[in-house]
C-alpha cells in the first residue's frame, strides 16, 4: 500500500489532465489566427499585441497591482500589530477577537461583499464620497488582515518565551527586546501573511465586484470581457498570467530546495561533538 503502484500513477495523471486541460486549451488558442474558440486556423501573436494595447485591461492591471500592494502592506502592519496585542490577551478576550477575525475568512464572499456595499451606501447618507478605489482598498484590507493574523499567531505560539526573558536578562528594555529578538523570530509569519494578502488581493473577484464602484480590477475587467464579445485577448491574458504564476512558483521552489541543501550541509558539519 505504500508503494506507488502503476494504477495510482495513472490516476494522478488523469486528475492532473482534468486540472490542466482547460488551461492548456486557453493557452493553445491564444495563438489562434481566427477568433474561433474551437478551430485552430494558424499561428499568430496578434492577440498578444492587441492585449498590450487594450487600455481597459492595462488600466485594470495597474489598479489591481496598486490595490494589492497597498492593501497588503496596510493589512500586514495592522494584522501584525493585532497579533502582538492578541497574544497578550486573556483567554476570553482572545477568543472573542479571534472569532470575529474569522468572520471574513469563513463567510461566503458574496455576503462579505454585500455587507460592505451596504456599509458604504449607508455611509454615503452622511459623508460625500464615491465608490471607487478608496472603497476597494478598504474592502481588500479588511479581508486581508485576518490572513495576516492567522499567519503571525502561530509564530507567537511557537516562540520560546525564554527568548524574551533572555533579551531582558542581557540588558534590553521591553521595547528593545521586541524589536531585536521577538520581531526577527516572527518575521517568517509576517512575510507569509504579506504574501497571502498579496495573492488574495490580486485574485479577488467577488468582493471587488461589490465594492469597486467606478474603478476596475483585472478580474472585473475579465468578467466584463467574457460577458461581451469573445476575444482571444482573454486567452492571451490567461497565458501570460499562467506563465507569471508558474515562474513565481518555480522560483519559490528553487529557493526552498537551495536552503534545504545548505541546511543539511551545515548539519553534517555541526554534528561534531565537543
Amino acid at each position: 500500500m505504500t508503494r506507488s503502484t502503476k494504477s495510482s500513477r495513472a490516476y494522478l495523471y488523469v486528475v492532473f489532465t482534468f486540472l490542466y486541460l482547460p488551461i492548456f486549451v486557453l493557452i493553445f488558442f491564444s495563438f489562434n489566427k481566427s477568433k474561433s474558440r474551437n478551430l485552430f486556423t494558424g499561428f499568430t501573436l496578434d492577440w498578444y499585441r492587441q492585449l498590450f494595447q487594450n487600455e481597459m485591461i492595462l488600466r485594470a492591471l495597474v489598479v489591481t497591482l496598486a490595490v494589492a500592494a497597498i492593501a497588503s502592506v496596510c493589512a500586514t502592519i495592522l494584522g501584525t500589530a493585532a497579533a502582538i496585542g492578541i497574544q497578550g490577551m486573556k483567554r476570553w478576550s482572545r477568543f472573542t477577537v479571534m472569532n470575529f477575525t474569522y468572520i471574513p475568512v469563513i463567510n461566503p464572499e458574496v455576503v462579505t461583499g454585500v455587507s460592505m456595499l451596504l456599509l458604504f451606501t449607508s455611509l454615503r447618507y452622511f459623508l460625500n464620497f464615491n465608490m471607487g478605489f478608496g472603497t476597494l482598498l478598504i474592502a481588500h484590507i479588511t479581508f486581508n488582515v485576518p490572513y495576516v493574523i492567522l499567519s503571525v499567531n502561530p509564530k507567537f505560539r511557537q516562540l520560546d518565551n525564554s527568548l524574551y526573558e533572555a533579551a531582558l536578562d542581557l540588558g534590553c528594555n521591553p521595547t528593545q527586546a521586541f524589536f531585536k529578538v521577538i520581531l526577527p523570530q516572527i518575521m517568517p509569519g509576517i512575510t507569509t501573511g504579506f504574501l497571502m494578502a498579496l495573492t488574495y488581493s490580486i485574485d479577488d473577484f467577488v468582493i471587488s465586484y461589490f465594492t469597486s464602484g467606478t474603478s476596475q480590477t483585472l478580474s472585473i475587467a475579465v468578467y466584463s470581457m467574457t460577458r461581451r464579445k469573445v476575444s482571444p485577448e482573454i486567452n492571451a491574458l490567461s497565458t501570460l498570467i499562467f506563465a507569471a504564476v508558474l515562474t513565481i512558483l518555480l522560483i519559490m521552489n528553487f529557493k526552498d530546495i537551495r536552503s534545504e541543501n545548505s541546511k543539511s550541509g551545515l548539519k553534517k558539519k555541526g554534528a561534531e561533538r565537543i
Binding site: 525564554s162 527568548l163 526573558e165 533572555a166 531582558l168 536578562d169 541546511k263 551545515l266
Partner: protein, 356 residues
Amino acid sequence: MEKDFIVQLDRISVSFDQEEVLNNFSLDIRDEEFVTLLGPSGCGKTTTLRVIGGFLMPDSGRVLFNGRDITSIPPYRREVNTVFQKYALFTHLNVYDNVAFGLRIKKKPESEIKKEVTEMLNLVGLSGFETRKTSAMSGGQQQRVAIARALVNHPKILLLDEPLGALDLKLRKEMQVELKRIQQSLNITFVYVTHDQEEALTMSDTVVVMNNGIIQQIGSPIDIYNEPKNAFVADFIGESNILPGIMHRDFTVSFAGKEFICVDKGFKPDEYIDVVVRPEDIKIGDYKTAQLSGVVKSTVFKGVHYEMVIDQGGFEWLVQSTLSEEPGTLVGMNIGPDDIHIMHRNGLDGEVDEVV
C-alpha cells in the same frame, strides 16, 4: 575568610493561581560561592531563581543586592545574568552575535566587543565557532554559547536554571567539571538550580535543599550527605535506609529491635527519632554473630557494587556491597557507630532543626 552576602532574600512570598510557592522565604547567598538550590519538581527552586533574576516580582518581601533593595528593579538593570534551561539562543543570530548581544545593548565599542567575545569563546572552548548558526550546533555546544553569552557581560551573579538537563550522561559530567572550573577561575557567584542531587554534590560549595517552598537544610555537600537534618534530606540525598528509633541516652539508640552504640548526643531521654544508615555503610557478615540478620530478597549487579535488598524483621534494607549473596540466603548485617545518623522526628515538614 568568609565572604559577604551578595544576595539576600528577605521574607519572599510568591503564589501562582492561589497556590503558595514561597512563603516568607529567606536565604542569604555568599559572594564568590557556587550555591546550588536542590529539590524535587515544584519545590520552589526555580521560582527563587527567577526572583533573584528579576523575572518574577514577589508578592511580598525584599531582594537585596550587596545590601541595596533591588526588588522592583527589572532584569535588564540588574547585574545578574541567566543561563536558561533551554538555552534561549537567538536563532536568527550566529554565535558571535549571540555572545556580543549584551555588550552591544550597552553600546560598547566594537573593538572592545571583539576582544571580549573572543576571550569568552576561548574560555568555554568554542574558539573558531563565531560564524556558526546556533541551530547547526549540538546541545553541548549550544550550552556553551549560552554560558558565554551570559558571562561576557561580567555579571556579579550567574543564575543557571537546570542547564544540563538535556545532555547525555557523559557530557553532563564533563560540563559539571567545566562549570566548576569556570566559576572558580572567574571568582563570581553561581546560583545553580537542579533536582539532581549528585550534580549538586559534585559542583557546589553550598547546597540549599528545598521542599514545598521551605529550606530543609543548608550546608556543604559533605555536611548534607553525612549529616542530613531530617528524613526528607536523608531520603533525597543519596540512597539511605530510614527507620524509626528511640534515643535512650547519649550515644545509645535502639532501632530494628536492637540496641546500638552511636556517636550522637544531646537528645531527650527515650526520645523518638529517625535513624539514617547509608547502604554502603552496612557490612555483610555471619548471621550468627552480626548485629542484625535478614534474608536476601534480591541482588543486582550495578558495576561499581552489588545492590541487595535484605528483609530484616519486615523492614527492607538497601545494602551496597562488593560482596554478593544469593537471594534466599540468611545473612548478617553490621553497622558501625559512625555510620548511624540520628535525626529529629519532626524535621519532615521543614523546620530546620539543629543536629548535634
